[in-house]
């Protein structure tokens, strides 16, 4: 069984993408054997009022029973924009979201902004996961209208230090997967799962040794990245790097745990 913890629908305004609707994403999931996808709406990165994107996602998921059975919605919120607390409550009560995706680089606030910390604490208190994406796209061939900054794993550490008992997803680990000893301990002691889509997951076997087999889970970062590289990193592991039980954790076990599906 496969669970994708990093899927998106919606538009990327600078480039045409494929399989960016619930319908087309579900077809792709069926083709490649992906049972569930944690999904959010990329439009929320670009709307000032992110709640409109969350409503779009909700409406699309509710339009077909198959979508409701296979998609786990994540909301996009902006803690420096009016009404986010109400929006979060609505996302929980009426949309059934399991987590929040935050985009400080796009929404132009610091990760340690008091509003961001408040949002993470509030999410924790309500049982929501908080997801950070280290980059949406490679900044090198970006559009002239896009941002030029990317994060590495270390950039997320300050918020984890502020709210160490929250649950985190770190998505598209494209830069710097190595941490110093202190931060490695923090990472290992916290409830964090990284998806396997990012380019820095080039030696997953070694990362499992460094951070633990409970810290990684299958993810695609679709439709921005190709659908299978994150899976290939798992399935090509040799037995001495990951036995079947460990691979099952990577395929779905760790996702089930952090998403509360167990």
């Amino acid at each position: 069984m496969l669970i994708d913890i990093n899927a998106n629908i919606g538009h990327w305004p600078f480039q045409q993408t494929n399989c960016n609707t619930c319908k087309s994403l579900l077809e792709r999931m069926n083709k490649y054997g992906v049972e569930l996808s944690a999904v959010s709406n990329m439009n929320g990165i670009f709307y000032k009022d992110t709640q409109a994107a969350n409503e779009e996602l909700h409406d699309e998921i509710m339009s077909d029973r198959r979508f409701r059975d296979r998609f786990i919605p994540f909301a996009v919120l902006n803690p420096i924009y009016a009404g986010w607390k109400n929006d979060m409550d609505i996302c929980i009560a009426k949309m059934g979201v399991k987590g929040i995706r935050l985009y400080p680089l796009y929404h132009d606030y610091e990760l340690t902004d008091p509003s961001c910390i408040e949002l993470v604490k509030r999410a924790k208190d309500r049982g929501l996961i908080v997801a950070f994406t280290l980059r949406m796209v490679d900044s090198r061939p970006r559009s002239w209208m896009d941002i030029n900054k990317e994060w590495s794993l270390e950039d997320i550490v300050p918020v984890i230090k502020e709210v160490p008992d929250a649950k985190y997803l770190i998505l598209n680990v494209a830069n710097g997967p190595k941490l110093n000893d202190e931060n490695t301990k923090l990472f290992k002691d916290s409830e964090i799962v990284c998806d396997t889509s990012g380019r820095s997951i080039s030696n997953l076997g070694e990362l499992l040794n460094t951070y633990g087999k409970d810290k990684f889970a299958f993810g695609t970062h679709s439709p921005i990245l190709d659908y299978l590289t994150g899976l290939l990193r798992i399935e090509s592991l040799r037995t001495n790097e990951a036995d079947e039980a460990t691979k099952d954790l990577l395929r779905s076990g760790n996702a089930k745990r952090i998403l509360g599906l167990l």
């Binding site: 069984m1 069926n30 490649y32 380019r199 659908y227 590289t229 290939l232």
Partner: protein, 300 residues
Amino acid sequence: MEDTAFSAAGIIVGSTLAGLSCKDNSASASYNIMKEVMKYRKIDAHEHVGLYGLTLEEQIDIADRLGMGKMVVSTPVTDTEKVVSPDDFIKCNDIVLNAMKQYPERYLGTCFVNPVYRKESLEEIKRCIDLGMIGLKVYNQMKINNPLFYPIIEKFIDLKMIILMHSACGIGIGGVRTKYGNNQPNSSTPDDFVEAAKRYPEAMFQYAHTGGGGDWEYACKAIRDYPNIYVDTSGSNNEGNMIDFAIKYLGEDRLFFGNDLFYYQGVGTILSSNLSESQKNKIFFENFNNILRKTGKNVN
């Protein structure tokens, strides 16, 4: 909205989701990615040895995992600031020759030179080809359309071998929009390739790494009308639509599978594209083998 009952993953308020998600099991249980990977013979048309501490044995281990029988390798000097002397490129090529000698079944070598040194470059090309190399790999020491490159290009026309040239095409890194900064001023842009291809239509050029951080949409559109420019799909930026876009603009005969040290992305992008099995086979293997066939050095 056909059914408003909140009955699904993530929709029931307060649900733990446990037990709900697997009932409508319509995902294919039969897709076996490793079986798919191993189904295709592969020639990695853009690979390196002696860079970033990766040993030959470690590289071959990765190649074995992903069913890559042959790797077309080079060792360029990638330090943009360094002036590459003949001694430097001879040392680089010796690294490749050593890899070819140790694992002749796995490595196909390509020669690296700096065309600033015309005489020494041509001598080194002869040495390397005589020792079994199958093409040229050049980096950002000079643009592909620089007149100093002409004798090298003419040599490879005579040899019926391909020239793999590093490329750059982006805002921050390449020469397309230099207004925003150009970190590699001597890197070849798609437009530089076009100029060289127009001057030498009988030459074969390989535009490096569509996934290497350049703007692959720009590149594919720029080189569309020049059939002697091939592209390899290597690089770390495995964007979802890249392969299908490249096929749309370049057709199925001008693309080569490559990794450039990013092995999972190299295989994953092609595997997850909308290409037919026949098209994937061309990109993974046949297209580059057809280049090798021109000199009788093809893989059987």
